[in-house]
Symmetry: C2
Subunit: 518 residues, 2 copies
């Protein structure tokens, strides 16, 4: 066995480095439309897919969900659901659910601020979205801290800089902005730093109305145009088991009414908020997702909704959530089958429970990502920068994860095996035991033959050691700082800047809007 | 979006930790037979598989290989190959190759030292083998150094301790043992520390004969029994492009004659020793592998041979080999199609070019591993502990990689979705918004519900921080030391210890055997 690699030269000249930077700039426009070639795997036989669907329908028909929002109960009653107003329990018969599934679209197109930012959810499309929701930001120089607007903006800059990230996410909570103004600043930052599809929190109708108006201004739309086509999205987590709270119901109704996209994602951690068996957790997830989809369709038939899967397991010793587990792998592949069974686009995630951007974090995130790829997931949330089960957004992890997403996106492109690529002549002309460096076949192709990594260091041990022996995480630290420093907002995001600034100034004077329940 | 995880308790009590150790002891007997449920993906259309095969046959027929071993040329001539003795070029007509493929087995069974150590190569079997070949050993306390016999033995102890590692590999070169005695010590260590199928280097007939005799003694076989069934394996790398050197030819012939297994693996790095196009590199790989298979079958029809795929790419700026790339992903999936096309078991690897066990190492190794899984690879070499493109064997990386292999092996087990697992009653009895911790359904299953990790730390940030904020790599350092310290050789490996010791003592007195060419 001689499968070791003799003397390697140092990788890059000074000139090589500046070429790399050029490649990174163009990274903003690469992989903007990824088709998943690995999807459609099966973790369940077809009869077990049907059994989970049937059992979920029984849960909806016989047990029901508690729906805390009165208007939601009213709409569901009007559509034929059985509502007990003393307990707020709503039972959904299978005809009502079937009607909802009949009107929910299986393919959703969201328009961004420029042509290449249009995003399609469904079919073999796979869309990557970075981390959303953490209260903390972290990087290896400044450490872990409460998220700030500055952190949020830096994450938006990074998101805009990579074509493989297809929509914006609320990467970190800007805790230095008052609650009544936070949605204004968060939406403004998204719309002025990026031309990608923005995220809006469903934290009450007042905030949602502000954010939707800002999206309308940014895209230069009439209200009718805005209502006719999705331009932004939100995420709705049910309160598993079997409960939809006030703001979530309101969010589903607000987004459905506005024709904007809801990802309805039960928070079904097996062994805690869901049955300990993965099949049981999937039953509960399926029931809750269908309940949310039904509320959206009752509000506005045809409203764009996405089936969200977040089913993973917990550590039974401590109750701590676990990600990147074999259970998550199987549950996500099975969720793909369930989503296809009901004809809805599927959202899942690429999370990790690791506290830092180390080998555990890399391992769990990639395992989760493959779960999504194999399951035919259409939208992978939290696919860059997530740590600590979602409590921190990490700048270094963001870069490391984008590296993986780019590799996977490149891996989805076809292997060209047309006749000229078979290289018979190059093999014939290259001496036995020689090398192909100077073959014409090589010279014609060498510039773009292979995917170039952003962080991976392929230099030999001696060169790498004498250059500081830095880890991938340390190199990622340089990378994100460089990108943020060189960042320029896209022209399309700047045109509406004034209108948005005026709107925000006015709404601030008016006191903004508090989140529901605050 | 509330996809963050509130207050988590510290994971393990003191008692919990000793339970974990118990689980690790049984790790030696888990996952001993893994069936790959992810294989059979396609990177090529069927007509392009046929085109690569046809072009490889043209390479063999029209261009040929240089075969440096005279006896190999003699045997190939006798079988009908066209040999030019002035250049040592051998051209293989397609009838000769077809005959070889007709006699090569598609399923190979290797017997170990006890019943659970039998290994099957082919079909949906997937077999994991740790790192082989590096000159250096490394760990985070002692650093990188020339490999020693002590290091080699510690790796064998680790290999024996994990059921998911199915055969032994020559993890690190014991450079402190003289060249003429090294094979004796290396084989003795494998056979006395482990009951798994051992590796033998093809470094000349003298060394091979010694090692095979030691395997025969260890298994208590007659020479006839040994010749009738594989008990060990070797790896043959061709000198790409288009050359088979002396010891490799000799190794193929020695192993075929002895009825033992050769993995015939061209070293086809696209852009260097192979065409820059992945399809062209696969043509060369296919041609060279078929040439090696033909030599084995000419030597002994029915000899057990495995198709080896090592096709990856290089960094075109430096010539440095790259692993865990999108090119490797596609080439390995395509190699799966080619191996199935010719009906041979397939070997590939899970390598990385990273210099340390960091996030890059974790990322590249897992990407490579998924390439193997999706390609339906039957044997994954270098699947634990490989660093630096094969120049170092790392103890921490070994543990981190085994963690991943266990997760993947668990992920290949079926998702139980039988009626009791659908948990309708548990959902019915659990209060809305409550939790499932105390449901009967949970209590009946909680002990073995989920895969337990070895290194992953799922504790919350505060608990993890106050416990030293250690990386996964640092935790892996403790783990391998603990396993080596507590190691006990299996009883089956001890019974033949005396016979092996006697043989080694005698052969040392006789001067051992130098590697061919030394």
């Amino acid at each position: 066995m001689v499968e070791t690699v003799p003397a390697r030269r140092g990788r890059r000249s000074r000139q090589g480095q500046s070429e790399t930077t050029g490649a990174q700039l163009s990274a903003a426009n690469r992989f903007t439309d990824v088709r998943n070639t690995f999807g459609g795997q099966r973790a369940l036989s077809e009869d077990r897919v049907a059994a989970i669907h049937e059992t979920a329908l029984r849960v909806l028909e016989e047990l029901g969900l508690r729906v805390l929002n009165a208007e939601a109960r009213r709409r569901l009653t009007a559509a034929g659901a059985a509502v007990d107003e003393s307990t707020h329990m709503v039972r959904f018969d299978r005809g009502l659910v079937a009607n909802a599934l009949a009107t929910a679209p299986s393919l959703i197109t969201l328009k961004g601020g420029s042509a290449t930012r249009t995003v399609t959810l469904g079919g073999d499309h796979i869309v990557f979205v970075p981390v959303g929701g953490p209260p903390h930001a972290t990087d290896i120089k400044r450490g872990r801290r409460a998220g700030s607007l500055r952190d949020a903006k830096d994450f938006f800059r990074l998101t805009q800089s990579f074509g493989v990230l297809h929509m914006i996410a609320p990467n970190v909570e800007p805790q230095d902005v008052a609650l009544n103004l936070r949605h204004l600043e968060q939406t403004k930052a998204q719309l002025t730093l990026s031309d990608k599809v923005p995220f809006v929190y469903a934290r009450g109708s007042g905030q949602v109305a502000d954010a939707l108006e800002m999206v309308r201004l940014a895209r230069g739309l009439t209200s009718e145009e805005m209502a006719a086509q999705p331009y932004c999205y939100t995420v709705i987590n049910t309160n598993s088991p079997r409960q939809l709270d006030e703001p979530m119901c309101q969010g589903i109704m607000d987004f459905a009414a506005a024709g904007q996209v809801s990802f309805i994602t039960p928070f079904t951690l097996a062994g805690a908020m869901a049955p300990i068996s993965m099949a049981g957790a999937l039953v509960l997830q399926h029931a809750e997702a269908l309940a949310g989809v039904t509320l959206a369709q009752v509000t506005r038939p045809g409203a764009p909704v996405v089936y969200g899967s977040f089913t993973s397991n917990v550590d039974m010793k401590s109750g701590a959530p676990a990600f990147g587990t074999p259970e998550y792998l199987k549950a996500t592949i099975a969720a793909g089958q369930l989503a296809r069974h009901v004809g809805l686009p599927l959202r899942a995630s690429a999370p990790t429970a690791s506290n830092i951007a180390d080998a555990q974090g890399a391992m769990e995130t990639q395992l989760s990502l493959w779960a999504c790829l194999l399951g035919g997931v259409n939208l992978v949330q939290h696919s860059a920068g997530w740590l600590e089960g979602g409590l921190s957004a990490s700048f270094e992890k963001f870069i490391l994860d984008v590296e993986l997403l780019q590799i996977v996106a490149e891996g989805c492109l076809p292997l060209d095996a047309s006749d000229p690529e078979l290289a018979f002549e190059a093999i014939a002309e290259t001496p036995v035991g020689g090398h192909f460096f100077s073959a014409n076949h090589t010279l014609e192709r060498f510039r773009n033959a292979f995917h170039e990594p952003m962080v991976a260091d392929w230099r030999n041990f001696e060169t790498w050691s004498s250059d500081g022996a830095r880890t991938a995480t340390e190199r990622a630290s340089d990378k994100w700082r460089e990108i943020v420093k060189e960042f320029r907002a896209p022209a399309s995001a700047l045109t509406s800047g004034e209108a948005i600034a005026e709107f925000v100034a006015r709404r601030k004077q008016e006191g903004g809007a508090l989140p529901a329940g605050a």
